[in-house]
Amino acid sequence: MSVNLDNMVKVFERPQSLTNAKSTYCPGCHHGILTRIIGNVLDELDIADRTVGIAPVGCSVFAYLWYKVDSQQVPHGRASAVATGIKRARPELIVFSYQGDGDFASIGTAESIHAANRGENITVIFVNNQIYGMTGGEMAPTTLVGQKTTTSPEGRDPSQVGYPIRFSEMIATLEAPTYVTRQALFDTKHIMDATKAIKKAFQNQVDGKGYSLVEVLSTCPTNWRMSPVQSNKHVAETVTKVFPLGDLIDRG
């Protein structure tokens, strides 16, 4: 039986804004889903040819490989500061930073908070997997109480190292930010919600509305020592209790 290719309808393809470079992410990690969502949003808003992406340090240090956009790879934690510089020098560009919790919420604390407090017209994607993935699974500021990591082998002890920091809630106390939300990717519904949130975060910038932050709860099956399925369940049932989902600020 012959197939007439002319009659076939393409229902699924790689977003135009993404390259076909090989992924460096682990199986079951949500970075891949998130990268695709951002690629789709760049396509839908037709902004890829005026977008600059900021790659952080960490698992997503290679982020500049995935997008067909101009990119800068920057020092650990400084992504929101570099995004600020680019956006102010060239306001016509759409600038987004892509940062993990070790980058955004630990070493980059000053840069992250002050970019938000200035209400920079940028889009920040903050990927929270509660661990330092690239360097071997060390405790992060976002690590859950009791969570075992290579540097908290007995579990995170808040009497010694404090509690998981809810960074988005801190930013939501500021007056300048336009949109602060926390999303997740552990099932289809949440992927669709996260997609809407990310689209809104870019649309806000296109419309000149100011600072948008999308925190995305992600998995780290490798360092959590869980299967991808267990990891999704862990986010849904445990992580979201510490880091509740939903919009924290929406002044758009």
């Binding site: 040819d49 500049y64 956009v69 101009d70 990119s71 800068q72 790879q73 020092p75 060239r90 560009l93």
Partner: protein, 280 residues
């Protein structure tokens, strides 16, 4: 688009991470350091104690900055224009190493005509949006050791070109000098007075003033040291440029040092007294 940043010693220490990344990513930038007394919080008085940091590294990695040492406010103006040109030409961070005296001084300056930014060459490598071209990526990151070695080799080749083409220095009354003072920046200026005072007393003193602190003018100073007995280094530090002076002079002449630290500024009289110690 051109960029600059400025601070004073402790702030420049904080910027070292970014300066290393600028060097690694071949990004032009002008950095002004108005040096104050250190180490630590030190104080806010004039000093030249950041010479090592400026000329030998400061941040991590095998890199160099072009370092310019103005000695007067008009020269600071000229060198600032030059700094932007060199930064763009070589895609390198350029530091203007001033000090707290120069930074708080008022002098008449004849400013050149401003440049229309639109007349500058387009920076094809900049991240301006990948419309109609392949994406540009700015980074200082290469996982492959041989790839990173090649990046380092390219940097070193650039530094060699700069060393061959961009040496700047000034000699004052060196033709018949027995003693030459080596000094830069504010101290270079003060030492011009010292040369006048010494010559009025019949002492044949000259001045060698490096303007590019990196690349350091080793060869011109080496040539000069063949003709003199003594090269006296004077600095507002414990002897930092002195090390480069000794590298240039080697055993060809005596290389004493006189310095003040902590924000103490040597007077022409104190330097002249030091010169006299080394006159035959």
């Amino acid at each position: 688009m051109r960029t600059m940043t400025s601070s004073s010693s402790p702030g420049i220490s904080l910027k070292q991470e970014g300066i290393s990344y600028l060097a690694g990513a071949n990004l032009p930038c002008v950095i002004v350091n108005v040096v104050r007394g250190g180490p630590g919080l030190g104080n806010i008085a004039p000093s030249q104690c950041d010479y090592f940091q400026a000329t030998k590294g400061g941040g991590h990695g095998d890199y160099r900055l072009i370092v310019l040492g103005p000695s007067t406010v008009p020269e600071a103006g000229e060198l600032t224009m030059l700094a932007f040109e060199l930064a763009d030409q070589y895609r390198i961070p350029v530091m203007i190493l001033a000090d707290g005296l120069l930074g708080q001084m008022m002098e008449p300056v004849e400013l050149p005509d401003p440049i229309d930014p639109a007349s500058l060459p387009v920076k094809e490598w900049a991240t301006t949006g990948a419309k109609g071209r392949a994406p540009n990526v700015i980074l200082s990151f290469e996982m492959d050791p041989e790839g990173l070695q090649q990046i380092n080799n390219d940097l070193q080749a650039k530094y060699q070109t700069i060393t061959e083409n961009e040496l700047r220095y000034e000699e004052t009354d060196t033709e018949d000098a027995d003693i030459v003072i080596a000094a830069y920046g504010t101290i270079g200026r003060i030492c011009k007075s010292v040369v006048r005072m010494a010559r009025a007393e019949g002492i044949k003193v000259g001045l060698f003033r490096p303007i590019t602190l990196w690349p350091f003018p080793y060869e011109p100073l080496k040539a000069l040291s063949e003709r003199v007995d003594t090269v006296l280094s004077v600095e507002m530090s414990a002897g930092q440029m002195w090390e480069d002076v000794r590298l240039a002079v080697a055993e060809r002449a005596k290389t004493p040092f006189y310095g003040e630290t902590g924000g103490v500024v040597p007077t022409p009289r104190s330097i002249l007294n030091e010169v006299k110690k080394h006159v035959r």
